[in-house]
Subunit: 201 residues, 2 copies
């Protein structure tokens, strides 16, 4: 069996185990990465604390705590170089995104993150609403898709209207920034905490 | 036995416990200051368990962004009243917990949060390690349970050694605070972001 050098390196980066042991672990586990990690730990060559393997290359972590400290947001924005990460435009935008999330409580970053189950649920609700509206059945589909678009624009961060400029979406502002700074920039993840809210099980 | 008012005051200043409790602690410990501190801490612990069922209805959200903005932590701490939430001790502890999480990367708050699957996986690794150690089979169980305890103390926030006092765990510091402020206090949730780390699928 062939084990790629890239996979060996990735295992080494994550576990800190010597290169030869990483290769052996991958051979033993037939290329299964998680099994190779377990193998290394069994042989005491790797510790439980995982080293984070890096994917995005640079960026910033920022937080916004709303006055009163009952609402907080943390966000990760990625770019390609430390130079851009430290630029005024990028740090300013990162801060503003955190503040925007505190104000507008998005649930997702993009519509692709919304599960099929949630979309089906929304559609069935809009279907009932269309039926009840008394409008002709031939326009129900249009009503449903219109409401679904509205739903996305309310719950997906990138589609929300930017709090600092109500003529543009977050995606618009992000696109401008990408053009201006000449690097790929993405909002990778966020967490929004509201004091005492019930937590998902 | 006579307990001097000065000693009672000193104990009160150090522990923040009510005057009468300090006097009682010193009487119980026959004037031994350290024993009296221990007595009061034991009492705080009793208070903690007694109050555990009360719902925490107030608290704070706080964040700590490590210089360089590549690591960030957000945390929610709960208490019972806004009065305690705004106290110096509570706000200070909340900040310190966020900083502690940034430094020590816990994966869980308490050991009850670790899934059975993870525990079984760890046990199987320690079993292999014990087998490989060449030590007699009759002590394998002891080796395994010892390593599991160590694992919990590394990955569970409450069991970690507090970064600002390496003689105490976060749970110890939390218990002291509960005793001092007289309210149930809990660390409810946290998020720790490290720039570019791979995300769970």
């Amino acid at each position: 069996m062939e084990i790629s050098a890239a996979l060996v390196k990735q295992l080494r980066d994550q576990t800190g185990a010597p290169m030869m042991d990483c290769k052996k672990a991958l051979l033993e586990s037939k290329g299964d990465f998680e099994k190779a990690v377990t193998y290394l730990r069994q042989k005491s060559l790797a510790t439980a604390t995982k080293k984070a393997s890096r994917t995005a290359s640079d960026g910033l972590i920022a937080a916004y705590i709303h006055p009163g400290s009952k609402i907080g947001v943390m966000v990760e924005l990625n770019c390609e170089t430390d130079f851009v990460a430290r630029s005024n435009e990028f740090t300013e935008f990162t801060k503003n995104v955190a503040m925007h999330i505190a104000a507008l409580s998005p649930l997702y970053i993009r519509r692709e993150d919304v599960s099929d189950q949630v979309i089906e649920q929304e559609k069935s609700i809009y279907h009932e609403q269309a039926k009840d509206s008394g409008k002709p059945e031939k326009i129900w589909e249009k009503i449903i898709s219109g409401r679904l678009e509205k739903f996305f624009s309310e719950v997906c961060l990138l589609e929300q209207t930017y709090i600092k400029d109500d003529t543009r979406s977050i995606q618009d502002v992000l696109n401008d920034l990408i053009g201006k700074l000449g690097e790929n920039i993405s909002i990778r993840r966020f967490a929004r905490y509201q004091l005492g809210e019930s937590l998902p099980q």
